[in-house]
């Protein structure tokens, strides 16, 4: 997004970050309040919408029955793509949003998908297999940016994790065709009570740290992002291990700063994960088609260092 700022505003933003008080009153390491809605798209198997300040994204998971990828007969398929809607910014019209979409989806693919062999993916691909070599689930995770006010990657990762947790796969009953020569014959259960959930505990959340001047901040707004010299996106999973690391911006970072950033990202990811788990308590997989809205007052639980205060 193109953000035009006058020289005076740039100085003011940088000064605010240095003084640990940003334009909207947050400190350097404070997230904006955010809100998760799950089961927002009835046609999808799982969906979630997250509003993080002025940023608004939707993620959906669509499951299809498919043939396992060649060479990996006991694996399912997982695909991630992101689209930027022209409602977010006029620049996204036509092919304008393509570059940003590619950037975002690549960063998400790196943290969510494993290597080409499928090892190390956030979702156990073997669990998506139904009949070895013949039938498996293919999960298409799509992100849509509806409105952009910075920190799109974090919002998308949270939305995708919520959508995956919200996803319910209908039960597949194999009726025949189990021998290697035959085509498998199956029946999809029409009973909304019969579904399987995905194991999503290892799906990481991404925390982006944006360096402006000498300091780095979390959850940058579009104005702050326009002033960044470097940004590091750290994907952290439940165990607190780093699953993916994406750096944008040409400026180099000192190793000690990078390690510092990773530890801050870890702290924040723990809080985000807790918030997500809390939202998950109230949501059910999409099969029941009951939209659930959940409000998170994040910054009350965080002190300046991103630690929980109460």
């Amino acid at each position: 997004m193109v953000v035009g700022l006058s020289a005076a505003e740039k100085v003011y933003i940088a000064g605010g970050i240095a003084a640990d008080i940003r334009g909207d009153g947050r400190g350097r390491h404070q997230f904006r309040e955010f809100n998760i809605d799950t089961s927002v798209i009835p046609q999808a198997n799982g969906s979630a919408r997250i509003c993080l300040g002025g940023t608004d994204v939707i993620a959906s998971v669509k499951a299809e029955l498919s043939v396992p990828p060649p060479g990996r007969p006991n694996h399912g398929k997982l695909e991630i793509s992101v689209e930027c809607s022209p409602t977010a910014a006029p620049e996204f019209e036509g092919r304008g949003g393509e570059e940003l979409s590619m950037d975002l989806s690549r960063a998400l693919q790196r943290s969510f998908l494993g290597g080409t062999s499928g090892a190390g993916a956030a979702i156990d691909l073997a669990a998506l297999s139904i009949v070895e070599g013949k039938l498996c689930w293919a999960l298409y995770i799509d992100g849509l940016v509806l409105s952009s006010d910075g920190n799109l990657l974090d919002a998308l990762s949270i939305a995708m994790k919520a959508a995956l947790s919200n996803c319910g796969l209908p039960k597949v009953e194999i009726i025949g065709g189990t021998s290697p020569e035959e085509e498998p014959d199956y029946e999809l259960s029409g009973n909304p009570e019969e579904f399987t959930r995905l194991e999503t505990s290892l799906v990481p959340v991404i925390v982006t740290l944006t360096k402006v001047g000498k300091h780095y901040i979390v959850d940058a707004t579009a104005e702050e992002e326009s002033q960044m010299t470097a940004a590091v996106s750290v994907a952290v999973n439940k165990k607190g291990s780093v699953c993916g690391l994406t750096k944008r911006g040409g400026t180099g970072l000192d190793t000690s700063v990078l390690l510092d950033m990773i530890s801050v990202a870890k702290r924040h990811s723990a809080v985000l994960r807790r918030a997500l788990a809390f939202a998950g308590l109230f949501s059910s997989p999409n099969v029941e088609k009951r939209p659930v809205s959940f409000c998170l007052l994040l910054f009350r639980r965080l002190d300046a260092n991103g630690c929980r205060t109460k």
Binding site: G4, L5, S6, A7, A8, E9, V11, Y12, I13, G15, G16, A19, D20, I21, G23, D24, G25, R26, G27, Q30, E33, F34, N35, C51, G53, G54, S147, D149, T221, A222, E223, C295, L296, L297, F299, R300
Partner: protein
């Protein structure tokens, strides 16, 4: 910052939603000034006296002999003229309005300025004060040095000089109080929330904060510029012309902004954001009121953009209105 509020950015729990709708209901009851039928949606019939005749104004259309609203807003009647003033619209300029705008383009002999109107406004080179303060013809050299005065993306305050038939508008900055804006930040709200007042430049001395309420919905909140800290800006427009040359542009006058001042600026900015999101009129009194309320409730600036604070502000407003009524 960001776009004017297209939808609410704050989130509410079910109990907060309930409280908010109750408070809004009380506000409506207490107001009593505007009858509910004065609000129309697109396609609503407007009651008019067909026998005595009427004049069809903006925002209306005659369909099968019936007067319908073409926009969502408030019905206004002036004698026989019936029009609908839209609630959510772009800025409708009037001559003499104080506006805050952003330079989008430097063109021959003029700057193009975004003022949240349908078209970019024009600021002619002949409508600005040159540094040095002397009145003279603008030369080709002046034209070449236009970027020294204002460059792309600069924020300026200005006044609407003339409106033209084709919808374009011209600005001027021929007073020392207008010019480049520094040491603060911009908050955008819906233009209809800012009433045209005698003064749009306000110095909240107790906080050391300067407030420029642009009629176009752009609000500039900054530290008090040092040149004007002793004088009331609006009090002396007449003799300010003869004052220190070039002081109006306040260029390069970067005051030291302490953390405390930043917190105050931020609190004011968030008060404006909250009032804008709640749809309350924005004027210095309401801003100071919200500011003091946040202080007395012990709310930190960053918590002011949370749902709870919005609900409390609306509840408070409802209480005040019912007391008055």
């Amino acid at each position: 910052m960001g776009e004017p509020m297209r939808r609410t950015h704050f989130r509410l729990s079910p109990s907060q939603k309930e409280r908010l709708s109750q408070a809004q209901e009380r506000c409506r009851e207490a107001a009593g000034s505007v009858h509910a039928s004065a609000f129309v949606n697109v396609g609503d019939t407007i009651l008019v006296d067909y026998e005595n005749g009427f004049l069809r104004g903006h925002g209306t259309q005659l369909v099968d002999g019936q007067l319908l609203a073409t926009v969502c807003g408030v019905v206004e009647r002036v004698n026989k003229l019936v029009s609908v003033r839209p609630l959510r619209a772009r800025y409708n300029p009037e001559t003499g309005d104080v506006v805050v705008g952003r330079i989008t383009e430097v063109a021959p002999k003029r700057w193009k300025v975004d003022v949240n109107s349908r078209q970019d406004a024009q600021l002619m080179l002949s409508a600005v004060n040159l540094p040095g303060g002397i009145q003279r013809r603008r030369t080709a050299t002046d034209e070449l040095n236009m970027r020294d005065l204002f460059t792309e993306n600069d924020l300026i305050s200005a006044e609407v000089q003339t409106l033209h038939q084709d919808g374009s508008l011209h600005l001027h900055t021929r007073s020392l109080k207008y010019g480049k804006l520094e040491n603060g930040h911009l908050v955008k709200v819906a233009p209809y929330l800012i009433k045209r007042l005698k003064q749009h430049f306000h110095q909240l001395k107790q906080y050391g904060v300067q407030l420029i309420l642009g009629c176009n919905g752009y609000v500039w909140i900054s530290a008090v510029p040092p040149s004007s800290s002793e004088m009331e800006i609006d009090q002396k427009p007449a003799d300010s012309e003869s004052r220190q040359p070039g002081a109006g542009t306040s260029e390069g006058q970067n005051v030291e902004i302490t953390r405390d001042l930043r917190v105050r600026i931020c609190r004011i900015a968030n008060a404006v954001r909250v009032l804008g999101a709640c749809g309350f009129m924005i004027h210095p009194d309401s801003i100071v009121d919200t500011y003091e309320a946040s202080l007395s409730w012990g709310i930190e600036p960053r918590q002011m953009i949370s749902g709870e604070f919005h609900v409390r502000v609306v509840e408070r407003e409802a209480e005040q209105r019912s007391k008055k009524g």
